[in-house]
């Protein structure tokens, strides 16, 4: 069956194109198109397919995540882009050029490649590892060295400390960073990442994901990213290609569309029953209305604090040190006016949230710490306000109202732009997580 490559998923994406690239500027990002690509195993024409008639288009500068269960052909699809595997039928185009007409080694030197086990060469130093492609391209030693230093800083590693070490000396997370630096070495317009964060623990994984998102905002590369983890796909992708066994494309859409309008039961099941919660992955702490943080400095007297707040001093005050970094919460009601607030009186601070933290992670951290509010800090770690569970759930309800009710034939069609309150009729049952325990088909209000 023919699949049309819809333009719709790209609506609203700010995409760099060749048209707005300044003349002479390096080629920052490439487009990738799969054109009816099929890969069969075995020699027979009717052999089993690893990838079946795959067609999609990734605009320049977008991150496209290929996601699906094992054996769905996502890694095979990725490896066809740098010709480690050749398709049986169909074409893959990079910037409109059919890659089958290009020399494989030259093609690969222009594509960054990160693999699951990182694939750093254990017998080479970090600097040598990062400089693999520049060396293949014949860059001078000096230019390579400068580039290695620049890249290690970019991925958050101190060049002086790491350049001459070996991969075995590094932690899993550090090796993963070096892997990304290596893929970026020759500034390729396209990166292929095959489960790049598959081999690190969940905490490091989340941090590496955040760093890649930050990097991607800076660099604007086109990225093809393979994962089996739908959460990672939703977090990392501008576009997500959900694949299923046999290598067929189940849905190609933006993460939001995937969560609100799964194209089939398979996609709905793969995305999971907690779609409403997952939608929180798409929102950041920065989008929340923050409550002001009642800040008190180290050594400040309670009297001064009370005078400053004009008698409406909240009970709990956020103690910050001389660098204005949070120390902990202080119960102001127990302290007399004359008392200077010191660190001994503080209890541990509630979770610190970055502005880029996803609401899902934020909610999880707050629930974990059993607190009502987390401290939102800026890049320097200074508090800028408080993010509350109430604010997050309010946003969740708002989201539910925007979802259409097409799974429910009896649901009243909502107005095109619903701005009504949380009890609007368009609200989805499975989104009402806070009430819990209800069957999805329970009577509705």
């Amino acid at each position: 069956m023919a699949r049309h490559v819809s333009e719709d998923p790209f609506r609203g994406l700010a995409l760099p194109t060749s048209a707005n690239r300044p003349a002479g500027a390096p080629h920052r990002a490439a487009t990738v198109a799969f054109d009816h690509v099929t890969k069969r195993y075995g020699r027979r024409d009717d052999g089993p397919t690893a990838v079946d008639d795959l067609s999609f288009f990734v605009p320049a500068g977008a991150t496209c995540v290929l996601v699906g269960p094992s054996g769905c052909g996502k890694t095979t699809s990725l490896k066809m882009v740098n010709r480690l595997i050749e398709p049986t039928q169909g074409r893959i185009l990079i910037d409109g050029q059919d890659i089958s007409t290009q020399d494989p080694t030259r093609l690969r030197r222009g594509i960054g490649y990160v693999i699951q086990q990182v694939g750093l060469f254990p017998h080479q130093t970090i600097a040598e590892n990062v400089a693999v492609v520049p060396r293949l391209l014949g860059w001078s030693a000096r230019r390579r060295r400068d580039r290695v230093e620049e890249l290690l800083r970019l991925v958050g590693l101190e060049p002086g400390q790491h350049m001459n070490r070996y991969p075995a000396d590094l932690s899993g997370g550090e090796r993963q960073r070096v892997g990304v630096a290596r893929a970026l070495a020759a500034d390729p317009p396209l990166l292929l990442m095959d489960e790049p964060f598959g081999a690190v623990d969940p905490i490091v994984r989340a941090r590496l994901q955040d760093e890649l998102l930050r990097l991607q905002r800076e660099l604007g590369k086109t990225i093809l990213f393979v994962t089996h983890d739908i959460d990672e796909a939703i977090k990392m992708g501008d576009l997500v290609a959900v694949m299923r066994q046999g290598g067929t494309l189940a849905q190609f859409a933006t993460p939001a569309e995937l969560l609100t309008q799964p194209a089939s039961d398979f996609v709905a099941r793969f995305v999971g029953a907690d779609r409403a919660l997952k939608r929180l992955t798409l929102r950041r702490v920065a989008e929340l209305p923050l409550e002001p943080a009642p800040i008190v400095g180290l050594g400040e007297s309670m009297g001064a604090v009370r005078a400053r707040s004009g008698g409406r001093t909240p009970r709990w005050l956020l103690l910050v040190d001389r660098q204005r970094l949070p120390v902990g919460w202080v119960d102001g009601s127990t302290l007399p006016d004359a008392a200077a607030v010191d660190a001994a009186a503080a209890i541990r601070p509630s979770p610190l949230l970055g502005r880029e933290t996803t609401l899902r992670d934020a909610l999880s951290l707050l629930l974990d710490a059993a607190v009502r509010a987390g401290i939102v800090v800026d890049e320097a770690g200074r508090p800028v306000g408080l993010a509350t569970i109430d604010a997050i759930t309010a946003l969740l309800h708002e989201q539910n109202d925007l979802t259409d009710g097409r799974d429910d034939p009896d649901a009243a069609p909502g107005p095109p732009d619903v701005t009504a309150g949380p009890t609007a009729s368009g609200s989805r049952d499975d989104g009402d997580a806070p009430r819990g325990g209800r069957s999805p088909r329970a009577p509705r209000g």
Binding site: G68, S70, L107, R108, R109, Q117, E195, H228
Partner: protein, 240 residues
């Protein structure tokens, strides 16, 4: 105890340290011939082992050569090669033993070169190819350095075996430390025979030690420590 004293006395006799049958000359002869045999065997075995390990094709050839080589006793080979050497008018005190030693040295080198290449992680090779290295660059820049420790172990094994076995050369009239054993036996000069055996043992141990030092010096630095986290994860998406 008396015998040990006699052997020591043999060693302390200054005439045994001089001339064409002196210890230094015999040791040199032994090392020269062993070195030549290992060198020739390496030229034959290593390229085959590396190529088969690199391509994964012809593994059957490697295991056949290795098994055949282990099954053939060097002494029998030597006796088979002597009439051939006489036939083609080659010096039968030099060439048959060299041939036997080359055949002795090939199996450990070919199997270790092969095993070393196979032990290089597939992911690394694929990463190298995926970054745009040519087949030769992958072989020389990635596979060979990583296979080197295992490969050198093969050379070390071969060298020690050849040094220990080259004593057979004396049977065909060749030089080396085998002369002391063979002549000692022929003349019923037990101290000489034992001294020869002790010298061969010492030389074999020294060879092993020398290769140990070489292996340490040439080991890729990043591999000096055991690699953490190298255990293969069950690949979730092997086929996909």
């Amino acid at each position: 105890m008396e015998l040990a004293g006699q052997v020591l006395a043999w060693f302390s006799d200054p005439t045994h340290w001089q001339g064409a049958d002196g210890i230094p000359v015999r040791v040199l002869e032994h090392l020269e011939a062993s070195g030549l045999a290992v060198f020739v065997a390496a030229l034959l075995a290593l390229p085959v082992g590396l190529v088969v390990g690199h391509t994964g094709r012809g593994a059957f050839l490697v295991s056949s050569v290795a098994n055949l080589g282990r099954a053939l006793p060097s002494f029998a080979l030597l006796l088979m090669l002597i009439p051939i050497a006489v036939d083609v008018q080659l010096d039968f005190s030099t060439w048959p033993i060299l041939g036997a030693m080359v055949l002795l040295a090939i199996p450990p080198m070919i199997t270790n070169a092969y095993a070393g290449m196979r032990a290089v992680e597939r992911e690394l090779v694929e990463a190298a190819r995926g970054m745009g290295m040519s087949a030769v660059q992958v072989l020389v820049g990635v596979e060979l350095p990583l296979a080197l420790p295992v490969l050198l172990t093969g050379v070390r094994l071969a060298a020690v075996q050849v040094v220990a076995t080259y004593t057979l050369g004396a049977v065909a009239g060749g030089g080396g430390l085998g002369r002391y054993i063979y002549d000692g036996f022929a003349r019923q000069d037990t101290p000489r025979m034992l001294a020869g055996a002790a010298l061969v043992a010492l030389l074999a141990i020294a060879t092993d030690a020398a290769f140990g030092v070489l292996a340490h010096a040439t080991a890729p630095r990043g591999l000096a420590q055991p690699l953490p986290g190298r255990a293969r994860q069950p690949a979730a998406d092997q086929a996909g």
